[in-house]
Symmetry: C2
Subunit: 355 residues, 2 copies
């Protein structure tokens, strides 16, 4: 196996020299693209789209046809793992993800087992293989999973939550039960990401979307330590090529040093952290990914470009930066502003400040 | 004017010696108390409750009758100022605060003026005076306001927002308009807090509930600089007594050094920041207020006490700590768990670790 023709993203993650700062966007395949909405209509539902490899491949490729992005990311959902554990994922219209059978009783938690990703998540592995064929070595493909803590939030709450009351009651009152959920989920996520790597993804990212809701002490005990176990259990290379890992805790800026120490190759940052200060804090231990405020894409294309340059300049010269938003792109984003962003990142960083 | 009989809270804010760590709770008068719900029913609506000094006084005193708290806080809403500016505050059932006339056009923003608090917010000043009479020098009374940025979020969005899209579009595209809103609101908040001080509040707190949604650079430009102007414009004493100020940016842990430098006496922290590390970072510049996760109150009373001790121990010995939650108390909190919390904070800190 060889690196893709455009390997700038992989080089930046490994802090090898690059000609410009690579860019991709969290949720780059999604509702802000009319062609995505058309594919989703054809699929019938979001979950059918995720579970049909041909359609997941189609959605994955759509943003690459429009924008000069430097990586593809598997189109899927972070909740496929608990779904494969038997919790029954569904999407209530306008309400976000829900589980038919959230974890509420001790025996349900004791009975939890890690699924075999090559059986219960076969559709994801088939999508990865199909996307790799379609990409034909042009661009790297990113695989991903939710973090154990983030998955546990959904598994216990049964869906999104404003205050995480149920899962945090468990955390403070029955930490043994929460650790049991996290332990099984950690095994499941490790197996899942390794199966994605074997199916062809060339980098992996762990999304810890709700880590920032934890106290400093609880973050280390209930989120970071499990991500550390996953990173330690990941296949470090496939087909002779390194498979870099990215860890992203939204709201984790205060804990950057601790996150950078768990063995991952890169840390994702939301827009609340200054990239230059982050770089000073972590030195050369990891690459950094981020961190434009997704709402900056609602300004004029000229202002979008100016904000992109600010992010590049805050990181400064040298490799080790992957440009991204600080969170998923909003469904209301005008696609032509994304064009302005990608062009600004490439041209400004080629001029020298970004690498 | 003299200090209240129990002045532990004021002494801690000013880093004077204390016998134990004082405690009060954000939103301590509220829906988790059955007696509050009864008062609210009698008032007719939340806004009528805020606007009727006698009922606001009743609600303010309720938690003090139940719990051995060390401060009272004026019962009111952070959105009284924009309401007095003519935006028409109302509460849609189950939907939170909304404005009838959010700021959407340039001429509305140009026309904005700061209200006279002694005229348009007379009901707040009357409530302060009534509460002071009722407290009869037993406990200090805290006054408060929302921060200009947080108020601007509501004024532009027209209510709560998941992504702050409208106000951030203004921030990135028309910063001049947002600065105009923040400028007028800063004058209004300064006048409002000074009127509260003249009416009898003995400490003031600025709630920057949404500051943590900003990028590091935007936080300084659009939130912190305006809070700095307010703090500089506050009456520093009244009746011969110092009136300490507290600034609380939820999600502002990364910016602690900058917040501690704006001239306030204390900084409020949410639960994501370790108090001991915070103290190391800011030295002796300010007192710290916080920071138990409000969800910890859903554990058993024994666990609640254990978590309270962890917070006290993380601050360590010496004055300068006001115990609080890291955010407002949840409406679902069992009141008897609050009793356990207050008792644990007082008894553990008297034993020496918390002061």
């Amino acid at each position: 196996m060889t690196r893709p023709t455009n390997d700038t993203f992989l080089r930046a993650l490994l802090r090898e020299p690059v000609e410009y700062t690579p860019i991709w966007l969290m949720r780059q395949a999604g509702r802000y693209l009319p062609e995505y909405n058309e594919t989703r209509r054809r699929a019938g539902s979001f979950l059918d789209l995720c579970k049909t490899p041909q359609l997941a491949c189609e959605a994955t490729l759509q943003p690459l046809a429009r924008f000069d992005l430097d990586a593809a990311i598997l189109f899927s959902d972070i909740l496929t793992v608990p779904d494969a554990m038997g919790l029954g994922l569904y999407f209530a219209e306008g309400e976000g993800p829900r589980f038919e059978r959230p974890l509420r009783s001790e025996w349900e938690i004791r009975d939890l087992t890690a699924p075999d990703p090559n059986v219960h998540l076969r559709y994801v592995m088939d999508a990865v293989a199909e996307i790799r064929r379609a990409l034909n070595h042009s661009l790297p493909l990113i695989g991903f999973s939710g973090s154990p803590w983030t998955l546990a939030c959904y598994m216990v709450e049964g869906g999104s939550s404003a205050d995480y009351r149920l899962v945090k009651t468990m955390l403070y009152d029955r930490p043994d039960l929460l650790h049991r959920i996290l332990d099984v989920t950690t095994t499941a996520v490790t197996d899942y990401l390794n199966a994605q790597i074997e199916s062809g993804v060339q980098a992996v990212m762990i999304f810890d979307s709700w880590g920032g809701a934890l106290s400093h002490a609880a973050y280390r005990e209930f989120s970071l330590s499990y991500m550390e176990r996953i990173v330690a259990g990941l296949k470090k290379s496939h087909g002779g090529e390194r498979v870099p890992s990215i860890v992203f805790t939204k709201g984790g800026g205060q804990w950057l040093e601790a996150i950078a120490a768990i063995g991952c190759d890169a840390v994702g940052l939301d827009w609340t952290t200054d990239l230059g200060e982050a770089r000073q804090r972590i030195g050369h231990r990891v690459a950094l990914q981020g961190n434009l405020d997704p709402m900056a894409l609602f300004a004029s294309p000229q202002q979008v470009a100016a904000e992109a340059c600010r992010v590049l300049d805050s990181f400064g010269a040298g490799s080790g930066h992957v440009f991204n938003l600080g969170h998923g792109i909003s469904q209301f984003t005008p696609p032509e502003h994304v064009t302005a962003l990608v062009d600004a990142v490439h041209s400004h960083s080629r001029r020298g400040s970004g690498n």
